[in-house]
């Protein structure tokens, strides 16, 4: 792979032909000396929806944060379309956990979605009419166009989640990291999110989703990463989402999970 030419046109061709959206190699990360991720390696195929599954404290969020450089990694390498994340920020969209921000912040839904454009604006650029139009369009895609001027604390949990997704859409990325987008949302929002994920996939985008609901894994995801500090399994959903591997990932806590994997929708909660 020659990567000497950094002109964007050459680069786009290159990433489409050669480099995978995400390649994680031997990633180890720790909070206060306690390792929460050990030697994690996996490579994501372009245009897939990838579910990240594992018990609480398995390092699912940490994996995303380490990949995005939000927490330092002790060792390992993360390549986004063949290059370190720092050089590829504009290609990556991120949806943090909904609880990670204060929804009493004085702003409205449209303004939050416009924040997704900040990465494209440069150091001194200000969001203007163009950003506004993009943000409105993204709000419409998640069915929230009518709530553009609504103060964000006045939105339901599901609506807040959809605003976060609209913000990620506004980032106009090729690879998306979503940290528990389905957590605590209503049925309408769940449906809106999965429709959106399918659309992104059809546009050839790659989405990595931290997910808790084992009952929907087979329906939603092309590939699955089973994580419990280490990688317990990674591959196509039908190959990896098996009784045996789930047992290993959850450490026997799934004894009552039936063969189909559909018995316990909320097994990891609490």
């Amino acid at each position: 792979m020659s990567r000497t030419d950094s002109k964007s046109t050459t680069f786009v061709m290159e990433r489409e032909s050669i480099a995978p959206p995400l390649a994680v190699n031997g990633l180890t990360a720790a909070y206060q000396k306690k390792p929460v991720l050990r030697g994690v390696s996996f490579t994501v195929t372009e245009g897939e929806l990838v579910g990240v599954i594992g018990p609480n404290g398995a390092g699912k969020s940490t994996m995303m944060k380490a990949a995005l450089g939000l927490i330092p990694r002790l060792s390992g390498e993360v390549l986004v379309y063949g290059k370190p994340y720092k050089q590829q920020r504009k290609l990556v969209g991120y949806v943090p956990q909904r609880e990670s921000v204060d929804w009493d912040f004085p702003t409205n839904a449209l303004d939050v979605v416009m924040m997704g454009r900040y990465g494209h604006l440069g150091l001194f650029g200000r969001p203007g009419a163009k950003e506004r139009a993009i943000a409105l369009e993204c709000l419409a895609k998640v069915g929230m166009a009518d709530f553009a001027s609504r103060q964000i604390s006045q939105l339901s949990g599901g609506q807040q989640q959809r605003v976060f997704l609209a913000r990620a859409l506004a980032q106009d990325a090729s690879l998306y990291f979503m940290d528990e987008p389905f957590a605590g949302v209503d049925a309408a929002t769940e449906k809106a999110i999965i429709t959106l994920l399918q659309e992104l996939k059809q546009e050839g985008k790659t989405v990595i989703v931290v997910h808790h609901d084992l009952a929907t894994v087979e329906e939603y995801f092309d590939s699955v990463l089973l994580l419990n500090v280490e990688v317990m399994g990674y591959g196509k959903t039908k190959d990896v989402f098996t009784q045996d591997l789930l047992q290993r990932t959850y450490g026997g806590r799934l004894a009552f999970l039936d063969r189909s994997g559909l018995a316990q929708p909320d097994i990891t909660k609490g």
Binding site: L68, G69, P96, S100, F105, P106, T107, M115, G119, R167
Partner: protein
Amino acid sequence: MSDFWILLTGVLVASCSGILGAFLVLRKMAMIGDAISHSVMPGIVIAFLLSGSRDSLLMMVAAMACGLFAVFLIQLFQQKGVQADASIGVVFTALFAIGVLLVSLFARQVHLDQDAILYGEIAYVHWNTWIVSGVDLGPKAVWLLGGTLIIIVTVISLFYKQFKLITFDPALAAALGIPVALFHYLLMGMVSMATVSSFESVGAILVVGMLIIPAATAYLLTDRLGMMILLSVGVGIASTFVGYGAAVIIDASIAGCIVCAAGILFVLAFLFSPSHGFVAKKLRLRKLVA
């Protein structure tokens, strides 16, 4: 003329602290503002001892260094497992105590009045004027605060979107490549600057009131960040006028009256704000029941 200079000083203090206070309140760092305002004390005293003057650039730099050092120490202790509020309490009282110690040791030689540092002497700002080749340019405090305000307004307007995003969602800010720590220290540096520029007029304790109370009041009155900043400055300026008027009438501490006025405005907003006020909420509930 003295009325004019005192009010102008108050307005400048209110503007500097109002803008920064909005970000402190939203970042849940009100007590960090308190910590900074106390921690600059040793810096002020050391610079004063070295330069023998209370309006030197050295004083500004030393105080800012102390303020940032306090922020750094607080974060260091928090990262190493000390509880957040405890680490704030430890750092700022210890640094403040060092300042008090230095003043009590050297105060007699250098005419640095402990009360002036703690409570300010806004009534005397017009006595300490800046005279360049015989021309009286007005109080030094006004020049200092004016310069500080220009810096704050410039930095905040240039990097408004960055400050907004690190306040609302630091994780996304970091993912987008915004240097979150740099902007954090930039904000804290400006808080230190505002504190030092204000301490002479309103004192190290009352400046915290000007940082936090108008911003907390504005938070109750609007749902937009830009408007919150403007209202925060507005509430601070209103407090200055009301407080100064009251101080003249009852012949009391001007700085004390200004912050009391801010406190009263806060209570009014808390009770009667149309959107977030106590009364409005009760009325809405009653409507729902009826």
